[in-house]
Symmetry: C2
Subunit: 302 residues, 2 copies
């Protein structure tokens, strides 16, 4: 797991830039900014930006130039957490061991903080496009990266997954629908972050496809690990309310297939992710990092 430690240099890079990349708000919007910052705060695992930067670097790109995209992906992730925790959605009071956004700022401001973070991501992309307006080759990579993320977070990706998840509450869910939910609500943005990193790093089309496979398998594994943790972990370790899924009659892998099948599938997906990354043309050191990361995420404790 030595390679996994390497990723902490990205964590500092991301944390150092996260607030800087937020649009500069008027002092009259102080509460909005505080609400946006609150969920962006230091306790996030920064997995999506990690993955974006690692993929970019492994493909030969300059990590520093990808930082705005990494931050924007974290904005989108934070927005999704805020909206997901709302009473009308998952109704969660606790996130990363702290009160959820709407518990601190009220529901209205929390909705707007989410809206603000999502919009901020696209402001960041466009600010970057404007900088590269006269460098066509670099601009193309950036637009392709932005397009991946726009698709991944939207109504064919993350929002679709959330909507199906919400509709499925309390219903008997087919394995097919469960995969659709997981692909949307979790894998879509993870996959998009990875593909965006690949584009930014200048990866060729075959590598983009392999990274896309890696991201999809990793994303599904990540969600199944999350579902398993909800059943097996304590609230204190988890930092959010454990056992919520069952209580809310949520469609989860353990509830549809059983805990053992969930663990088997997790193993299978981690292997598939490793296989996909093996097919890319990146060097072995990076392949190890991607594989270690997939294993670490599948076997995490919170």
């Amino acid at each position: 797991m030595n390679h996994f430690q390497d990723l902490y240099r990205y964590r500092e890079l991301i944390d150092a830039h996260l607030e800087e990349e937020l649009p500069e708000l008027d002092s009259k919007s102080r509460t909005l900014l505080e609400a946006m910052r609150y969920t962006l705060g230091a306790k996030g695992k920064r997995i999506r930006p990690f993955l974006l930067l690692l993929t970019c670097e492994s493909a030969g790109g300059d990590v520093k130039e990808a930082v705005p995209y990494a931050c924007a992906v974290e904005f989108i992730h934070a927005y999704s957490l805020i909206h997901d925790d709302l009473p009308a959605m998952d109704d969660d009071d606790l996130r990363r061991g702290e009160p959820t956004n709407h518990k601190v700022f009220g529901e209205g401001m929390a909705i707007l903080a989410g809206d603000g973070l999502l919009s901020a991501a696209f402001e960041v992309f466009h600010k970057d496009y404007l900088i590269y307006l006269d460098r066509p080759e670099q601009l193309k990579r950036r637009i392709r990266a932005g397009a991946e993320i726009a698709k991944g977070c939207g109504c064919r990706g993350m929002v679709a997954g959330q909507a199906s998840d919400l509709e499925a509450e309390g219903l008997v869910v087919s394995p097919d629908l469960l995969d659709y939910i997981h692909l949307g609500k979790t894998a879509a943005l993870i996959r998009a972050a990875i593909c965006a990193g690949a584009y930014l790093g200048g990866a060729d089309e075959p590598d983009i496809r392999h990274f896309s496979d890696y991201g999809e398998n990793l994303g599904l594994a990540f969600q199944i690990a999350d579902d398993i943790l909800d059943v097996t972990a304590e609230t204190e370790v988890l930092g959010k309310t454990a056992g919520k899924d069952e209580k809310a009659h949520k469609a989860t892998y353990p509830s549809v297939h059983g805990l053992e099948a969930a663990r088997e599938r997790l193993l299978e997906l981690t292997t598939r992710a490793a296989d996909a990354v093996e097919r890319t043309s990146v060097n072995d050191g990076y392949k190890d990092q991607f594989t270690d990361l997939a294993r670490a995420l599948a076997h995490r404790e919170h």
Copy 2:
């Protein structure tokens, strides 16, 4: 008012493309798509897309090529209405004479429909950028248009205005803060739509500035007209609950300055909008259309 009639050709063009521009959703996301479509439905005035297309055409652009942007702006407007009507925000049951989105689809799905529409707008932009990837000059115009809209709808624009509006409820609001709220929640997206149209049409920088002034004055006038209507109109004519602002102790121009001062300011803003458009280099026929449109919006009955 003959020129104003001309705009109806745009209305058909917009209505014909609005659904087409929505990303193609999986059948599993039927409810989400229905919720998104519901607020996009036929009763909107389509003012922002109108303005975008008119500005594009007046600057010498091809209206057909600007249609995706016009539709995307309407997606953003629809998202803002859905979130604004939520119980945690303005808590409105009625919009355009119909039940609001969350009344039909529930709060969770309404939040997601809004999120989906906002994301869809940025998917539309990126889809268009990808088409023009090898035509640098056209790509630049498009990115500048997208950047204007991203800024206008975000946490320095519309979301900022909504947040301040929410915070100001029940408080004594200074004229300065009231202007900030109005500039954000209404003028920012209207101004952005107009500037986007100007960029798409190939307007030069001085014209962009004049159009920006026109948009800002028009947007402020539009909001003040809205505030006045809330006091003076009947629910039936308005299509949404009249008298809501006063009941919710909202900061409005009439509540801060009185009804007569509101009417005077409306006149002043309409004149300023007309003056701004007069300074552009577009031909007189278009100038008349912009001026007529400003007057019509200021004196509308719903």
